[in-house]
Amino acid sequence: MTNYRTWGRTVFAGCNYAFLLLISLLCLMPIVHILAMSFSSGAAAAAGQVALWPVDFTTAAYDNVFGKPEYLRAFWVSVQRVALGTSLSMVLMIITAYPLSKDHRQLRLRTFYAWLFVFTILFSGGLIPSYLTVKSLGMIDTMWALVLPTAIPVFNIILLLNFYRNLPKELEESARIDGAGHFRTLWQIYVPLSLPALATTGLFTMVGHWNSWFDGMLYMNHTENYPLQTFLQTVIIKLDFRFIKAENAELLLKLSDRTSRAAQIFVAAFPILIVYPFLQRFFIKGIVMGSVKE
């Protein structure tokens, strides 16, 4: 691409910059708006005066949020869930993707195993049978209901096994000649080499666990076991918005503390805002490498 400048080129570049800037602001603005709202006084927020900058700056909403034991407890449940769920999924993913990345000659039943997993993304028993399964295992109101049913991330396993396959065969062969078994080869050669792919899938698993709310609603009978997103779902959305007629909904929305809702949303989004930009470089690399096959 030669880089000579013409008048048309300059105009296009200018418009392009402006357009993309507008688009990126469109993605950012709602979050900035919520942030501004959370630092504004209740009166200014209710009157709709807040746009992108706090009006009558106050941290009252945050005092309120952090003073709520239910909110903190839900936050803690989510933290536990992310820690347990992510580590479990990662371990399972690493050891499951390795045998599946072997070819037919090294593992006779490979095709059968692979289809066993792939079939679960093609077809599912549906909501009610899944619920009843978890229930009959006695997992209702326990952490296991949140981490075990989703512990096998089939898509991530596929991503990782494609990554494993693109590693040079010679590495594995030389390890075998040096006397390393499968476990050792996996641990000392495959895992260190697949760190970018692991970072990618790890990020997605973490974000997935942090963000999921529906299983919490389904499997938890007592609100004190709710993870944060489920808690917010019931507090922010359901109470104010659902099961209420449209005309009352508006009134209730205004009455319910808008700033406190904004603060709760922002605190729940904060861990993600922190984590994802740092891993961006990794995940683009990981996705591209995992999806490109030779």
Binding site: C27, I31, I95, V134, L148, I236, I237, F243, K254
Partner: protein
């Protein structure tokens, strides 16, 4: 027999590695599949799967007679198809425009910003959307007010709701969708552009004759893979944003199954509806993978 022992001796670590995952998949994916027999039962929780009486196709007949069922299927497909089309068109356009940027850091910053909504849950985004789209005090309606427009209750009006879903979904996902297309763009051979330039093609012509054809394989692939989503209109999004006044335009299969099964405890009926969806989805997904394999030589593993 000897052959099998020899195989086992060689392969046992691989089987052991697969064991935990297989146990989990059997329990949490295959056992529920067996639970599908509920669709043919008048399921009574106390009696369980083995004690509940079988009633043949009655749940399905009930479903066919359900007055809103046509609407629900229509809504599902309508919203899902619009999302698929817009979700293809927008990221491609943005990726091409983004590719025109010269400065690497601008590109990177832009990407970081537009990925943001993808990483937030529909619970949080719904909280934000309800606030921003509110007809009385929302920012969007305030802005529209400056242009003299009357406030619009985006989430409370049947005329607007489906489009609000499509637009907010595209808003959430387009940034992330550009990743794949950007990767495809960097794979286009630069000498093609040089050749086009020598032949007198301007940037626009280059876009249509070099860039787009170069992206075609990945576009075809994404489109075919998305065929499997025609019955996935987005449960998490709609469930968090809909309300009884907009059921007419917002109720989709998944939300209906939830209300019937979990809220009204009609387990057999809800399972029948879910089963219907699972089967149709299964056909669509299998078809789309088959197409992707034939058209783009795509293999899942």
């Amino acid at each position: 027999m000897n052959g099998i022992t020899r195989l086992w001796k060689r392969e046992w670590p691989l089987h052991m590695m697969l064991l935990p995952a297989i146990v989990l998949v059997v329990i949490f994916s295959y056992v529920p599949m067996a639970g599908i027999v509920m669709a043919f039962q008048k399921y009574v929780p106390n009696k369980g799967l083995f004690g509940s009486p079988f009633i043949g196709w009655r749940n399905f007949r009930l479903l066919m007679d359900y007055p809103d069922i046509g609407r629900i299927f229509f809504n599902t497909i309508y919203i899902a198809v619009m999302k698929i089309v817009a979700g293809l068109f927008v990221p491609i356009t943005i990726a091409i425009l983004l590719n025109e940027l010269r400065r690497e850091w601008v590109k990177r910053t832009f990407q970081t910003l537009v990925y943001l909504p993808h990483f937030m849950s529909w619970v949080l985004l719904s909280g934000i959307l309800v606030d921003v789209l509110s007809p009385t005090s929302g920012v969007v309606n305030q802005l529209l007010g400056y242009f003299g427009a009357k406030p619009i209750f985006f989430l409370g009006s049947n005329d607007w709701f489906p489009y609000a879903m499509v637009i907010s979904d595209v808003w959430k996902e387009f940034g992330f969708g550009t990743i794949v297309y950007l990767a495809a763009l960097t794979g286009i051979n630069p000498s093609l552009y040089e050749a086009a330039e020598i032949d007198g093609a301007g940037r626009l012509k280059q876009t249509f004759h070099v860039t787009l054809p170069g992206m075609m394989p990945i576009i075809v692939l994404m489109l075919t893979l998305n065929i499997g989503n025609v019955l996935n209109a987005g449960f998490e999004q709609i469930f968090n944003l809909y309300s009884p006044p907009v059921y007419e335009s917002a109720d989709i299969i998944d939300t209906f199954v939830y209300r019937m099964g979990v809220q009204q405890a009609q387990f057999g009926f809800a399972t029948a509806v879910g089963l219907l969806k699972s089967i149709v989805s299964f056909l669509f997904i299998s078809f789309s993978y088959f197409l992707a394999y034939r058209l783009a030589n795509y293999r899942i593993f």
